[in-house]
Point group: C3
Chain length 210, copies 3
Amino acid sequence: MTLAPETIVAVLDFFGVFTSAVAATVLAKRQQLDIFGAVMIAFVASIGGGTTRDLLLNRHPLFWLKDLNYAWTITLTSLFTQVFYHQFERLDKPFRWFDALALATFTVIGIEVGQMRGASAPVAVLMGVITAVMGGILRDIVCRQVPLLLRKEIYLTAAMVGGVFYFVLLHAGVSLWVRDLLTLLLVLVIRGFAIVYNWNLPDIAIRRKP
Amino acid sequence: MTLAPETIVAVLDFFGVFTSAVAATVLAKRQQLDIFGAVMIAFVASIGGGTTRDLLLNRHPLFWLKDLNYAWTITLTSLFTQVFYHQFERLDKPFRWFDALALATFTVIGIEVGQMRGASAPVAVLMGVITAVMGGILRDIVCRQVPLLLRKEIYLTAAMVGGVFYFVLLHAGVSLWVRDLLTLLLVLVIRGFAIVYNWNLPDIAIRRKP
Amino acid sequence: MTLAPETIVAVLDFFGVFTSAVAATVLAKRQQLDIFGAVMIAFVASIGGGTTRDLLLNRHPLFWLKDLNYAWTITLTSLFTQVFYHQFERLDKPFRWFDALALATFTVIGIEVGQMRGASAPVAVLMGVITAVMGGILRDIVCRQVPLLLRKEIYLTAAMVGGVFYFVLLHAGVSLWVRDLLTLLLVLVIRGFAIVYNWNLPDIAIRRKP
């Protein structure tokens, strides 16, 4: 079975948009934003990374202007999450896991878009990282949260390692959808371990002599 | 009498730029920014929304790079507001009303620009909202204010309702400048009521059973 | 000796990228970001101003996507600064001076890019200011610092005065690399005096009568 890259990206994209719209709405409700404020935060989080990537790559028209399904998916997901907010909250802190799913998905999408634009491997990895983290960074800035990035967790690093892994698989001749899936799983596993075990990167600074 | 859409947009635009430059300068002075810091905040607030919209729509050259009147209007308005800052302050908290006027004006401009670019109704409404709120959001982020958006006031919602109303008028066959004016007034009235009566949107979450 | 504008811009650019990557990494370490978080802040600070400028001018492909030397310079500079962080810290608060060097360099680059795109003098000065200050502003926003801009120091003003000075030199017939160098020095001197003597701009508001 062969799937067109466009199909895989489209499926992953809607999944990532859905999970990050849920995560963003939960955050917005915690910050007591009103209905449409929360919808807007869901927009920022869900399409902020891809939009940043496409503006940097000069890729127009933007995906969510071309395809209104994004806008409807985000709006309905956010409204639904708001209605059942107290029910969702009961689940054991799902926010971080939805966020982790969006991180993994958007990493793969960013790399694929970079590939489709003929970018070199480092630029494609960078696009994966930007797509993965910019939505969350913008969301946190607008919501005045301490950005996830500043909390010393393996977040951006997970996306970056995933990106490098993708190109290792590519050079090993692994087929498209397998490497997409494996990359997604690797990012999710790294980020998941970081969440569960509070993983941090070591400090690389050479200490002063006492 | 028929006015070209471009003329109406141009007149509204300078009005919106003027009011938001005043509002931004008042905020910047409260935050004790220096002369040119305040001018820059006035730039960010006055052209931030339109610039975001045009970058998203890939509409180049940007209006304020093509037409230097924007830069001069903002600079002179901001300097003038700074010189007479203590005199302005005496007026009964005009900041929010200038901000409301800019909100209403930029909503209409954003929709018109969307229309001119052949955008569908939902995208045009979205462009109205983005043009209306992004300048204020960017201003608040740079000034480290709690964004208006987070203060649970009817702000973004006013722009959105105005946008939907615009397309109702369009389908009812109302002529251009009448629907521009009515949309502007509706946004202003909604936002005005929200300011005066502290209107908030209701929480749509289903409560947990006790 | 005549140097092509492109050569001068390229040399200045790498110098500015280097100094602002060092400054950003020092800030990121103070904020206790992890390794790749600090690298990312170095990216934001070093190419944020130029990227904003190029997006506004619709200048594609972006310089750092076309030329991977930027990415490698920033990454290696940031890692190097992190490894020797405690050694650097011993030096007498170099952070502000590295930042001042980047400010001066990026002002000149922004003006030159504006000139190359055929921008009018005011737009070219604006591009100089944007290139000079946006990287630092974005860096401070992501790091949740009080933006330098808000600290009432001669920062943006130094870039602006430098920009005006550049066009004075241009009209006086001063050759390219001399006016680049003199503009760079003027910005550095103004900013340097502001750092050393705590220069501030006067308040231009007319006082109320008591």
